[in-house]
């Protein structure tokens, strides 16, 4: 980042704070304690529920939070606290080793049970969700664990896989997953590629964030533009540079 003023360590800062804005175009960081939960709720509102006919719970990616809060380690710690309290569930979505999806536990349970209505596998899925409520901080389960700790049988495991709550990871272990999330992943990757393409094709491969939000999206981009922008900034696929006319997004050659 280009800094016009030299960095001063905290110990040497003068006590009188002058009223000047040193950072221009930066998103308001705020001086108070970072509230991850409210940021999560804001990002969840960007998720298009109508697109999936309300069958999916609202999913937010972990790296979208990095685009709003500066301190990544703090964000990670807060997320772990929420997961330990049982309020948040994290999923390995599969298309990227680092892309984790976050869903509120209450949302997840409601949607999964709603999806299971009238199906014979409902009882097994309900039991599985009960086990999940004791704070579950794991993303995948091995066969041993399910058989012994959760006391499910083999056929019940097959039912869980059929209902979409578990997906195959490798022989004898499964990822926790969101049923019917295949469409979500497909639209997400498509939209990400389209938005990145828009940034790349711009002159000098850079676009003002405000301008990008105003642009007309092609049919490939099915999610809200802001959702994708948070995603590409947080995953560091574009560099976010503060300028006098707002934040500039520049494509990073890799």
């Amino acid at each position: 980042m280009n800094r016009k003023r030299a960095l001063i360590s905290d110990t040497f800062k003068v006590k009188k704070r002058r009223n000047e804005t040193q950072k221009f175009g930066a998103i308001s960081d705020g001086d108070g304690p970072t509230d991850i939960r409210s940021t999560l709720e804001y990002l969840m509102t960007l998720f298009p529920r109508k697109l999936f006919n309300d069958s999916l719970p609202q999913i937010v990616m972990k790296h979208q939070l990095y685009s709003i809060h500066n301190d990544k380690t703090l964000v990670d710690k807060e997320l772990n606290k929420l997961r330990e309290r049982g309020e948040l569930l994290m999923f390995q979505l599969g298309f990227d080793a680092d892309a984790f999806g976050l869903v509120f536990t209450a949302d997840y349970k409601a949607k999964v049970l709603a999806g299971e209505d009238g199906r014979p596998t409902r009882a097994t899925v309900e039991r599985f969700l009960e086990k999940l409520s004791s704070p579950c901080t794991e993303l995948s389960f091995s066969k041993d664990k399910i058989l012994k700790e959760f006391l499910f049988t083999d056929s019940e495991i097959t039912q869980l896989v059929k209902s979409g709550v578990l997906t195959v990871r490798d022989a004898g272990s499964w990822w926790l997953s969101i049923p019917n999330s295949g469409k979500f992943t497909k639209y997400f990757i498509q939209g990400r590629k389209a938005v990145l393409g828009m940034v790349k094709k711009s002159k000098y491969s850079e676009v003002l964030k405000a301008e990008l939000e105003e642009r007309r999206t092609t049919s490939h981009v099915k999610f809200h533009m802001k959702y994708h922008i948070h995603d590409i900034v947080g995953a560091e696929l574009v560099e976010s540079i503060p300028t006098t006319s707002g934040t500039l997004l520049r494509h990073v050659e890799s």
């Binding site: 980042m1 794991e138 995948s140 490798d170």
Partner: protein
Amino acid sequence: MLGFLTARQAGLDDPLRLRRAESTRRVLSLTLNPDREVDRIHGNGINTIDIEVIEGRYMLSGGADGVIVIYDLENYSGNLQYACKAVCTVGRSNRYVHKFSVETVQWYPYDTGMFVSSSFDKTMKVWDTETLKPAEVFEFEGNVYSHHLSPIARKHSLIAVGTKEPKIQLCDLKSGSRIHVLQGHKAEVLSVRWSPRYEHILATASADSKVKVWDVRRASGCLFTLDQHNGDKSKGASEAVNTAHNGRVNGLCFTGDGLYLLTTGTDDRMRLWNSATGENTLVNYGKVSNESRKKLQFTVSRGSSPELVFVPCESSVAAYALHTGELVTMLRGHYNNVDCCEFHPDYQELYSGGKDCNILAWIPALRAADVEEESKSANQAAADQSTVSTAFQDAWSSDED
């Protein structure tokens, strides 16, 4: 600043506090200075630099053409503007020069009479600085990526060598033997590093994504392997069990006190580990761009309060705060990829070398002049103008006419 000085004078503050505050201020204000440069001797990229530990005066650099240069970093000229001169070079005309690129150079930790260099010509040479002839040559079966001598060892004088072979060889300087071998990795070993805290602890990083920590006195294998998920098998894919990174691990650096170990990998991540337990501290540095196929030499500052890690990131050097993971600043100045960087702890200076054949010196920026000093210098300039300006002096007519 004056507050710190008076407190130190009155004994209210610990002496360390003033030192640490000033070191931190200096480390945070590193910048390129037109007054300081390093002689440009290398004709090809610079792969490695090392500053000696005893005086901090001499710097070694090894290049992609096999040339090794020794620079004198001290400024005895009295001028503000100073170019670090090359004292001597092992150039292409030297009979014993390495045939291919030099990958690692290191001074002998106890005096500058000796230094060790290893190269892609599958040899490691121990040089006598006075005569610039190798006193000992160790030959290996594969390219040598990295070697390291323990900076604190009293009971042994082993050099750990990482080569294309998956086993790590320990060469003894005293006897010349190389029978001690550490087995455990499955692919080439890209980086080896002794702990600056315990003289028998060695960390090695390999292209098989694993980092192993060894105690060389123990015959039975490594102490532990670093695991990025801290034993939580559910987090990653099942092939990623016990790996430190999701790609090749090509950089290792211990912090100054030896309590933490930093590793960088080609998955564009840098991780901080507790070196005693091997636990991943989960500090998130974000994307640390890393495309190096060989080892990456990076460094940690010493003596400042938020310690900074300086990592070469494509053509600039990124400085991250060690424990919080935030990007403090990017030092831009090189024209091409940066391969190595080294911190000079006494003067809080950073030297970085890269493919553009330059070694850049990053020096703490000077303090801005006070208002009083500025008016004094303005007065002096006015006084000077009364003497005749040189343009009007008669410089061409001779005295004969």
